[in-house]
Symmetry: C2
Subunit: 406 residues, 2 copies
């Protein structure tokens, strides 16, 4: 297996890989706050292999349904995305609007409509303001520096844009992977919608691209929780245009392993950025469960702890109440034997072999006061491990989500 | 099947059925606030058939382990219960303490230790203050009016005691069912622990008693959510002492149906009392899902909606954001077809056949401002239905659970 080097790029974004350009405008779909953008386009100048992952919610936005249809070809080169309206629960009219949005982008750029994907986030149950979108699309200028604008155009209650890119060199091959994401946010009223749009100039075989994205998402977006709610719009896309000139990467390529590592790191970076900017969040909680019988058990236990409102409020308030952590582990469904479990908060070991250990509450409080709170659980049953990320639960979360319209 | 009559008794409690007495004291286990009680005993003067349901958490308090062992006999006549310390994650020492607590109660009352059950709620990871408990037990006086004291002795952050009783007459048979419960509360620090202790003077066959309690719990305690966390201490007990003099009720008895109905009503009453008094709660949310393919689907969907932080904050703030409700239904895992779903908030129909309907936001806001908020979802796929209860999520919930020790 070939080694290699992965470097995060300063100012890296979704247009850092060769041949990708983007742009955005304020079309008026969402309420204007300073520098708002709400309609954007991402475009690859060269043909792409494109793959995607979508919400598991049985209620799906029109844009998600359209993407799922068009990705069966796997050739999309354009994404048009809006914030401010999710175009969900809108029936046939919603689907026709999503198609028109794609057609307008296709026409403007000069590609076939089938090569265009659509993503929408915002209010559920309202139809897209098509006049604003028609006018807006004409105002979008595309450039290779446009990734930053796209990162802003997909924000809802996100307080910061989320973007990154890595440069990878593996023997002869040099390629770049970039991405933008939006997190858990609500706008008049919205859902905890998650978008992540990823690009690479690496050439990658379709099947490997799909499995690589699935693995990276399983380690990142599927291991975060802000509030346990999923939306009809969650969308992760990865476009690979091959302009780096490498031989298409397949599972047996020397670059396969480092491509996967680099993609994992970009996705984990963006996933953590989403959680850190969770609504009302003041802290990142990182929970690692090791010694599990299976990877599924480790994931289940880690995700249950980061999702527990009682753990989240304890971390927020610096309340050294570790009984809530072990109780969340206990109800996760993972296989465990109480008398084998170890639990540490930062470096403070509070439970050993299922029994509480004398530990200074002040030491736990100190860890809870950090901006990143590491929690580790060892089930001592097997060799599988997993890490999940969450954020604290604060009065601000309640305020954001209860008082928007009142 | 015999009909009959079920009447809620004014001032009804766990000692309303014949032959049950109770008492409580302040032993000093929990911090004293005015009129605190923290150690109580429930006793049946006549032999009982007793059954119980316990936490599904893999981490179990010593008291839960002890109860599970002793209920294999099904003859318990005494319960000793404390608040302020959960006696969980305390190893062999914790189990020995639970046994000693049972022995002390057995000795004081004059029954065999095996006839005594124990329940503990409070801090996890701390051992019971046995000296306080030894001294406290001696101070407890038992009386047939003591149910109210027991209801207070099990409170943690509950703001009101929760108790009720019903008188049932079915042909020749007249019997009473009573109960006390405690809800989601935390005390220095505690868990969302739930207790419910039920009594009846009806004679009931052991197998039917067990299945009746399971059904009643499935309709009540298993259909409520305050914050999605379960504790190592959750305990529901039902003692039947037969002093009403009826023929023991079995599934084919004329009284079987009304006994089940009465037990269901007592449990639903107490379950709703728990949710209404959820930490920081200002409103009760009642979600009914009908037209499901199976009862399991209906329960899953109803429970997911009442557990959604986004639904809970919307109801709290009176934010007419029904997209959050339908999204929670969508992610519940229940079988559904988006284009068939109807959704109403109170009498306001907001979604019909999966499409949003023009409805006045002000009408939805009015429903959300009620102290009880009814939400109904019809999946229009089958005939199964279920109702779940939850409460809103407020800044006060966060404050209670984050700032206890700091």
């Amino acid at each position: 297996m070939g080694g290699g080097k992965i470097d995060f790029l300063t100012g890296g974004t979704v247009t850092s890989p060769k041949g990708f350009c983007a742009g955005a405008t304020y079309a008026g779909i969402k309420k204007k706050v300073k520098n708002s953008l709400d309609l954007g386009i991402l475009f690859s100048e060269a043909p792409c292999v494109t793959t995607g992952l979508f919400t598991t919610n049985r209620i799906k936005s029109a844009a998600v349904v359209l993407c799922q249809q068009r990705l069966q070809q796997g050739k999309a080169v354009v994404l048009i995305v809006n914030s401010g309206c999710a175009n969900a629960c809108t029936g046939e009219r919603g689907f026709a609007d999503a198609e028109e949005m794609a057609n307008l982008a296709a026409h403007g750029i000069g590609v076939a409509p089938e090569e265009v994907l659509v993503a929408s986030t915002g209010v559920i149950g309202q139809t897209l303001p098509m006049k604003l979108i028609r006018d807006g699309i004409r105002q979008i200028g595309l450039s290779s520096h446009g990734g930053h604008e796209l990162a802003r155009a997909i924000m809802t209650t996100d307080t910061v844009p989320k973007e990154t890119a890595v440069a990878v060199s593996a023997g002869e091959s040099k390629f770049t992977i970039g991405g933008v994401a939006k997190g858990a946010g609500m706008i008049h009223p919205d859902l905890a919608t998650m978008f992540c749009f990823l690009t690479t100039d690496a050439a990658v075989e379709p099947d490997f691209l799909r499995s690589a994205l699935r693995q990276a998402a399983d380690l990142s977006f599927n291991m975060i929780s802000v509030d346990g709610d999923t939306s009809p719009s969650d969308t992760v896309l990865l476009m690979a245009n091959g302009l780096a000139g490498n031989q298409p990467i397949s599972p047996v390529s020397p670059e396969a392993e480092i491509f996967q590592q680099a993609l994992d790191r970009v996705c984990i970076y963006l996933a953590k950025a989403i959680v850190r900017d969770g609504e009302g969040a003041t802290k990142l909680i990182e929970v690692t469960v090791s010694g599990a019988k299976s990877a599924a058990d480790a994931k289940l236990a880690a995700r249950t702890v980061v999702s527990s409102p009682l753990v989240k409020t304890a971390v927020y308030g610096g309340d050294p109440n570790w009984g809530r952590i072990i109780s969340a582990v206990g109800r996760s469904g993972a296989d465990m034997v109480e008398s084998k479990i170890d639990l540490s908060i930062g470096e403070v070991n509070v439970l050993k072999g299922g029994k509480s250990r004398p530990s200074a509450e002040q030491d736990i409080i100190k860890v809870f006061q950090q901006s990143e709170v590491p929690i580790s659980v060892n089930l001592n049953l097997g060799t599988a491990s997993a890490t999940a990320w969450g954020c604290d639960l604060t009065e601000e979360y309640v305020a954001i989500n209860s008082q928007y319209m009142t």
